[in-house]
């Protein structure tokens, strides 16, 4: 055995690594040129990127911002000596139509309303999405916002949304009263019934009466004036918001051990998820009126929103079911042992947690739905994609293709990319969650 005993008397200092492993050279060796295969890959990709940019950049840089027709663009480019198949982009069409692509036919003097609605959406979502940084008081605003949003967009007398709120309030009081006398389930049924009766039968007269006396309101805007990007966002936001409660109910139904309820929920969810959205939109455009009592007439955008809501609810139900499944059994038992009944347990203990876990999934569902709103162009709604056709039907811009598609793609990309990043951030936060 050799001399084993060894004591280091002075500690060695930290030294710089060999030059080839650090700095730009080290980084390139490590990340771009490690081995012949990687080197080849690097060269191929570089060539590809250069070729792509070479093809696209000259087209993009084209001084046609102020052109008023495609012909004028062509003249400008010809004047610069740029001819050929694709001499350059014709950006005039974007300058001419970008407002329309954003707002559709919404009256221009009322643009502040959708802008405000979407800005306030941010405020209303803040307490939900950034619960750790925003005061909880703001939740009140979040609760009112679902009524504010449609009012701002569609306008009309203030009494409409107020009466809807009144329905909830009435339902709540009836629930409280019936709950005391007859217990949870009966209370809920009575509450829901009271609210529905109020909305369907009573509120119409009340609105008419009150608005005759006190005509407070803002100018009404028909939903067929909605268009462009605003239409996409509106469909997406309304459908997701409305699908949330339906999704919760469906998810609970699917989780329950009541066979018939479960079968109904599973049937609905699987049906909706099994057919393409476009067929549901066909239903909206051709069949929904047939299903309704004779004489009812929703306009097409409302019908689309209804179908989009049903569509989103099925996906939402699955997302929430995931959230429910992630909760430990002990939470249910804890609530049971304290004597909370089923609905109290759901409302106070289970749902707050399950929904929080589900937020990233909800955001993803929203992104998916939002992208899918472009499908409404197929049934003739003028979302950005539908508008692109109308714009091309204008004699001045007949023949334009890439500029509009590019602009629309950019809008969608910016929006969806931001949201997907946010949802990833949420997921990380949930994974490392503090409490």
């Amino acid at each position: 055995m050799s001399e084993v005993s060894y004591v280091r008397t002075e500690m060695l200092p930290e030294r710089e690594p060999p030059a080839t492993t650090i700095g730009v050279i080290g980084w390139m060796r490590e990340n771009l040129f490690s081995g012949w295969f990687n080197t080849a890959l690097t060269i191929v990709s570089l060539t590809f990127v250069v070729m792509l940019l070479n093809a696209i950049l000259p087209w993009i840089f084209s001084p046609t911002w102020y052109a008023t027709s495609l012909g004028e663009c062509r003249d400008i480019l010809r004047g610069m000596g740029r001819e050929g198949h694709y001499p350059g982009a014709c950006w005039g069409v974007i300058r001419d139509r970008w407002v329309q692509l954003l707002f559709g036919f919404y009256p221009s003097e009322l643009y502040w309303r959708p802008i405000m609605a979407f800005l306030l959406l941010g405020v209303a979502l803040a307490p939900v999405l950034f619960s750790d940084r925003v005061p909880r008081k703001l939740l009140w605003f979040s609760a009112v916002y679902p009524f504010l949003f449609p009012w701002l967009l569609w306008g009309g007398p203030i009494w409409g949304p107020l009466m809807v709120i009144a329905g909830f309030v009435i339902g709540w009081f009836v629930y409280r009263a019936a709950d005391k006398r007859a217990g949870g389930l009966a209370g809920i049924i009575a509450g829901v019934l009271a609210a529905v009766i109020w909305w369907l039968l009573v509120s119409g007269y009340v609105i008419d009466g009150v608005s005759a006396v006190l005509p407070i309101g803002i100018e009404a805007v028909q939903s067929r004036n909605f268009g462009g990007f605003m239409l996409s966002v509106t469909i997406g936001v309304v459908a997701i918001a409305c699908s949330l409660p339906i999704g919760v109910v469906l998810a609970l139904g699917r989780q329950s051990d009541l066979l018939i309820v479960k079968a109904l929920c599973v049937g609905f969810i699987e049906f909706i998820r099994g057919v393409p959205l476009i067929t549901l939109l066909f239903v909206a455009s051709t069949l929904l009126n047939i299903f309704m009592p004779p004489g009812t007439n929703f306009d097409i955008i409302l019908r689309v929103i209804i179908m989009a809501t049903l569509f989103a609810s099925a996906y939402m139900a699955e997302v929430i079911r995931g959230g429910l499944a992630a909760l430990p059994q002990g939470q249910y038992e804890g609530a049971d042992s304290l004597g909370l009944d089923y609905w109290q347990a759901q409302r106070l203990v289970i749902m707050p947690q399950a929904l929080k876990i589900s937020i990233p999934g909800i955001v993803s569902t929203f992104i998916g739905l939002f992208k899918d709103t472009t499908l409404v162009s197929i049934i003739g709604l003028l979302d950005p994609l539908g508008l692109s056709n109308s714009i091309r039907a204008d004699a001045a811009w007949n023949g334009i293709v890439w500029e509009i598609y590019g602009f629309i793609a950019l809008l969608f990309f910016a929006f969806c990319f931001a949201m997907s990043r946010y949802s990833m951030y949420l997921e990380r936060k949930l994974n490392t969650g503090h409490h």
Binding site: G183, L258, R273, T279, T374, C416
Partner: protein, 462 residues
């Protein structure tokens, strides 16, 4: 010790329906069921009344009437005198065609991109990230019309191939023509298919290698198109003409496929034998050439014997003739769906591989396994369990998204049944419901496969 006396056996009280856990669930379910039935009844009665007002009796009779329109791409015989039902069937086949092609391509692309995204090469990794983000965050419909526009605008038109000094020329030794009407590729044909331009049969078949010809399923002697099929002599005797039978199966193709499958089976046996030898001796014999040969040789011989040849596309008249024509609409839809779905699959593949902890690779390399073996024996079997369920749900999405075919005029089931048929007959209720039913069936089949797979590969846990 105090005792509680037994309460008297109680009779059934109405309140038990609500408060007794035994009956309560029944009550809720029956209320739900009644509510559901009332809703359905309400919808049906509304529908009936509305239809009566419009004077439209729900009926599927129109499906038997002549469709009157033409479909450019069809996998089975079809002309404008065929029924709407057959047109719908052509549509279903087209849907399935693009779905299958899309799933295959999306998987291949997705796996490559997903793996490249994990590459140590910074540039490649970044490029793939850009790809994934761009494709996921832009609506698929936009991609479809975008790619269609690219195909139409940037590829040469057939007229560019014309003239003494054509602008464009065919690719791959004049066998493939890429035009903005689609791509023409060589068409694999058998001896029996040799016909002249007009589709008439050549008097002199190509020697003895004439193949077996087609078999018309559902042919009958009453059908005038089948005259030649039942004839025993004359040119093309025994050959069914178009329109004979519900559909026709190429016997040559069937035989060739059978031989191919047999070859694959033999190759599988060889692999099994190699496994056995390895188990016995530890050394795995080299068998790839055997396995390749046993697949390819018999297949090639069969093809030769059946008079297999390629029909090359050729510019004649307005268009290229001969060869298989993959139309723009198909290509655009196929590419867009594949590229879009590939972005999602890439993420799934990446996540699947990342889900396998680094420790697994380390442990395997510490045992002396080579990287390729580690991939095959350790990483992939585990990653596949993570990857396949979401993969299949992406297949489902792709299939559903194929209904956007309508945006580029690809005649799938949405284009035929829920498109032109709906429009020409005004039967919204019947066509849309039937269309939904078809999609639902396809989806349910796919998800049944998914569930079966999920259950069969669950990792065993404590």
């Amino acid at each position: 010790m105090a005792t509680v006396s037994d309460p008297p056996k109680e009779a059934f009280r109405l309140s038990q329906l609500i408060y007794d856990t035994r009956y309560r669930s029944m009550t809720i379910q029956i209320v739900a069921l009644i509510g559901f039935l009332v809703l359905i009844g309400w919808l049906i009665s509304n529908t009936a009344q509305n239809l009566a007002d419009l004077g439209k009796e729900p009926s599927f009779q129109f499906m038997g009437e002549a469709a009157g329109y033409d479909i450019n791409q069809r996998l089975i015989d079809y002309n404008n005198q065929d029924s709407h039902l057959r047109a719908a069937f052509v549509g279903i086949l087209n849907t399935l065609l693009v779905a299958v092609m899309g799933c295959a391509t999306a998987t291949i692309l997705g796996v490559i991109i997903g793996v490249l995204r994990l590459s140590k090469n910074w540039l490649v990794g970044r490029l793939m990230t850009v790809y994934v983000e761009i494709f996921r965050n832009v609506p698929v419909l936009l991609w479809i019309v975008f790619i269609m526009a690219i195909l139409i605008e940037t590829l040469p038109a057939p007229r560019d191939f014309r003239g003494d000094d054509p602008v464009a020329s065919m690719k791959l030794f004049d066998t493939v023509a890429i035009t903005n009407r689609g791509v023409y590729i060589p068409d694999p044909l058998f001896g029996a298919d040799a016909k002249d331009d007009k589709g008439a049969f050549l008097d002199e078949p190509v020697g003895w290698r004439v193949g077996l010809g087609d078999y018309p399923v559902g042919a009958s002697r009453d059908n005038p198109s089948c005259e030649r099929y039942y004839a025993t002599e004359g040119p093309g005797a025994g050959e069914p003409a178009a329109g004979c039978g519900t559909f026709q199966i190429s016997l040559d193709l069937l035989l060739a496929l059978a031989v191919l499958i047999a070859g694959l089976y033999a190759s599988h046996r060889i692999k099994r034998r190699a496994d056995r030898i390895q188990n016995a001796t530890g050394v795995r014999p080299v068998t790839w050439y055997l396995r390749l040969g046993v697949v390819i040789l018999p297949f090639a011989i069969t093809l030769w014997a059946l008079g297999f040849y390629f029909a090359f596309p050729e510019l004649r008249g307005f268009n290229f003739q001969g060869g298989t024509h993959m139309r723009n609409s198909l290509i655009a839809l196929w590419l867009a769906l594949s590229l879009y779905t590939a972005a999602f699959i890439a993420e799934i593949v990446r996540a699947g591989i990342l889900a396998i902890s680094h420790g697994q690779t380390e442990a395997a390399s510490a045992l002396g396994l080579r990287p390729k073996r580690i991939m095959n024996l350790v990483i992939l079997p585990q990653a596949l369990r993570v990857i396949i369920p979401p993969l299949i749900s992406n297949y489902l999405n792709l299939t559903k998204n194929s209904s956007l075919a309508i945006a580029v005029g690809y005649m799938d089931i949405t284009g035929t049944l829920m498109g032109i048929t709906l429009n020409q007959t005004g039967r919204e209720l019947e066509t849309v419901l039937l269309g939904m039913l078809i999609y639902l069936t396809i989806s349910l089949i796919i998800s049944a496969v998914m569930n079966w797979y999920n259950n069969s590969v669950k990792l065993v846990e404590r």
